[in-house]
Amino acid sequence: MAHPPRHSAMLSLSNSGSSANSDKQQPPQQIQHIANTGLRVPSNRKTIYDRHLNRSRNAEISRSSFAFLFGEMVTYAQRRVTGIQDLEKRLNEQGYPMGLRLLDLLYYRTITSSTSSSLASSSTSTAPPNRPLRILPLLHLIHGPLWRLLFNRPADALEHSVSPDTPNEYMITDNDPLVNAYVSVPKEMHMLNCAAFVAGIIEGVCDGCGFEAKVTAHNQPTELWPGRTIFLVRFGESVMEREKVLERAGIK
């Protein structure tokens, strides 16, 4: 079984009180690092821990707001890089941490929602959804629930690369990516695809689930869909090794 890089360091945390006395507020007797005085909170003592995670589940905001914010993110990134690869890399890095957050939010929502619609479309059990153990359930999770959370619709296609020498490549297609809806890339930069931001989100989700991958966004315009984008997902060697082992162990 492939192991992610391991730190064998023993727990270095020093703020673990030997006994947590539940009734009186335990005096912070951590010695080394300054005890956190904690953040100031409004008089109603509300913190992010009092905010229900599902509160904004169906909340809506204008599409223009997203377009302007995303546009400014691209402009800001553009000013700090030279060349298309750098720009795409930066957009990817901005999307990556969102992928990790969305992953946990997605799973949290299916644990708590009564109609725990199964996340990975392959599993039909009404029990909390399974973490994806194989590439296909992972890609179904991205193609379906993740896209619906982000864009209120599933992605348009999910394919496995046909060529034998790239078994680790899969493609998720979006005919009209929201992020590029108002973006017109100048001719001289035609290779650029700002959906590299979404590629970063996908990469965050893959890595989060333990499927280390590189994801890139590519323009594949058609007459009907001028903004059509292919997200190429390239899984690492260790993932492909594990796939073989799990296949033999009959894990679907």
Partner: protein
């Protein structure tokens, strides 16, 4: 219902967009279009400045009293709030718009100036109705596919592929 062509002029009078929608129109050189845009901008400003001002007593008693109405004075017009002057625009509530329409027997030119100073010039056949619907849609497409395009720099010529595509598609769909 035929829209011949569209011209967009930025707030400084510079031509930022020009496009024909009907085949067979006589083409002007790009330089001529630049001159046309600048000239129109000047004429438009003049028409704003020659809006007649009526003595205050005869003007309809405007709801806004001069003191609290800090309505921005129309540019290029001597500030009409100077104490003692008893003249005001026919309807002080709404600023003077300047040239809005210019018609010949062959075409009508409709000009829509936004509050931000951008001017949209639409050349259509004289009998075409509901120009304001077309104008409003053009402004929306401009707000969507030009203003929200991170690769468009304000006040510069508009070269946004998505704007061309949606504008062409929408106008073609209507003719």
């Amino acid at each position: 219902m035929t829209v011949f062509s569209l011209i967009i002029i930025n707030k400084a009078g510079g031509l930022v967009y020009q496009r024909e929608f009907q085949p067979g129109l006589r083409k002007l050189s790009t330089n001529d279009y630049l001159v046309l845009a600048g000239t129109f901008h000047g004429v438009h400003a003049i028409t704003r400045s020659i809006t007649p001002k009526l003595p205050l007593s005869t003007a309809s008693t405007a709801a806004t009293t001069p003191t609290s109405s800090n309505m921005p004075p129309t540019p290029g017009i001597p500030n009409s709030f100077t104490p003692g002057s008893a003249f005001t625009f026919p309807n002080p509530g709404t600023p003077a718009t300047g040239l809005e329409c210019l018609e010949t027997d062959k075409f009508r030119l409709t000009c829509f100036q936004t509050l931000t100073g951008t001017k949209f010039l639409l050349f259509t056949d004289p009998i075409m109705g509901n120009i304001d619907v077309v104008m409003k849609k053009v402004y929306e497409l401009y707000a969507d596919y030009v203003m929200k395009n991170p690769f468009y720099q304000l006040e510069m010529p508009v070269r946004c592929e998505a704007f061309d595509r949606h504008l062409g598609g929408w106008l073609r769909g209507r003719t």
